[in-house]
């Protein structure tokens, strides 16, 4: 590594050479062909294999996840539709249950039922009646009596 020092326009270079290939004297070191063997030289090949295997497994897992996602992508609308159907079924079930509970809570006695039936029958009968008759039915009897008499006199005349 070299450093360049500038002092008042004077340039001079002071090169500091790194101490390369200087063997570190380790009394417990082992040398091989003149070179000192460091501890990291002794790497187990099994460890590398394990790392490679782990990488492979993780890559395989990622790949599987990707494949699964790609396979599910076209099925997504169908899955969402199925979800909606399921939700609708649950809602329908809840509605039926609520209606049943409501019906159970209503107390129907014979009088109420008969009155309701009579109302319906009366409504049906009124639907079949002539419109003019329906109007006349709402008038008081005295008024109808006068109208009746007047109409008969009109026919006689």
């Amino acid at each position: 590594m070299s450093k360049i020092i500038n002092v008042k326009g004077l340039d001079f270079t002071k090169a500091i050479k790194p101490q390369q290939n200087q063997p570190q004297h380790n009394p417990f070191s082992v040398s091989f062909k003149g070179n000192e063997l460091k501890a990291d030289v002794f790497e187990f090949s099994a460890k590398k294999e394990n790392i490679n295997q782990a990488n492979f497994v993780s890559k395989l897992a990622d790949h599987c996840v990707n494949i699964k996602q790609q396979m599910l992508k076209p099925l997504q609308p169908a899955i969402s539709f199925a979800g909606q159907v399921k939700q609708n079924a649950v809602n329908a079930k809840n509605n039926v249950v609520n209606t049943y509970n409501k019906l159970n809570s209503i107390q129907l006695n014979k009088q109420t039922f008969t009155a309701a039936i009579n109302k319906v029958q009366e409504f049906q009968q009124n639907m079949n009646i002539n419109k003019e008759v329906r109007v006349l039915m709402n008038k008081p009897v005295n008024e109808l009596s006068d109208m009746f008499k007047a109409e008969l006199q009109g026919i006689q005349a």
Partner: protein
């Protein structure tokens, strides 16, 4: 101006019991056969004691009307009634107790007709 037919029908369907009296006083005393006929039909359809009594025991009205058209229409309407309980009761009383033989006879004939029709 409302038609006579509509007024009679409205009185027939009216909930006020006074409507029977109007039909009895005005309709059954009319000089027109078609008015008496429709009034008779309406009173029978009312199926009340008062309306049926008028059609059975009164002279010159209902089944005792001098016009065969009116009397036949009244009999026909009585035969078509769904509930004949009240009319049978009135006919029985009329046959037993009425002072007018002609009315008794008509009531008896109608009673026999109803018995046959059932």
């Amino acid at each position: 101006m409302a038609k006579v037919e509509h007024i009679i029908e409205a009185l027939g369907r009216h909930k006020d019991p006074q409507s029977v009296h109007v039909l009895k006083d005005v309709g059954t005393n009319s000089s027109f056969d078609f008015v008496r006929e429709q009034t008779a039909r309406t009173l029978v359809r009312k199926n009340t004691h008062e309306s049926l009594r008028t059609m059975i025991i009164n002279e010159g009205k209902g089944i005792n009307d001098l016009s065969p058209q009116v009397s036949e229409a009244t009999v026909q309407e009585i035969l078509e009634l769904n509930n004949k309980e009240e009319v049978l009761k009135i006919l029985e009383d009329t046959v037993k107790m009425h002072s007018n033989e002609e009315i008794k006879k008509n009531a008896n004939s109608l009673q026999a007709l109803l018995a046959l029709s059932n």
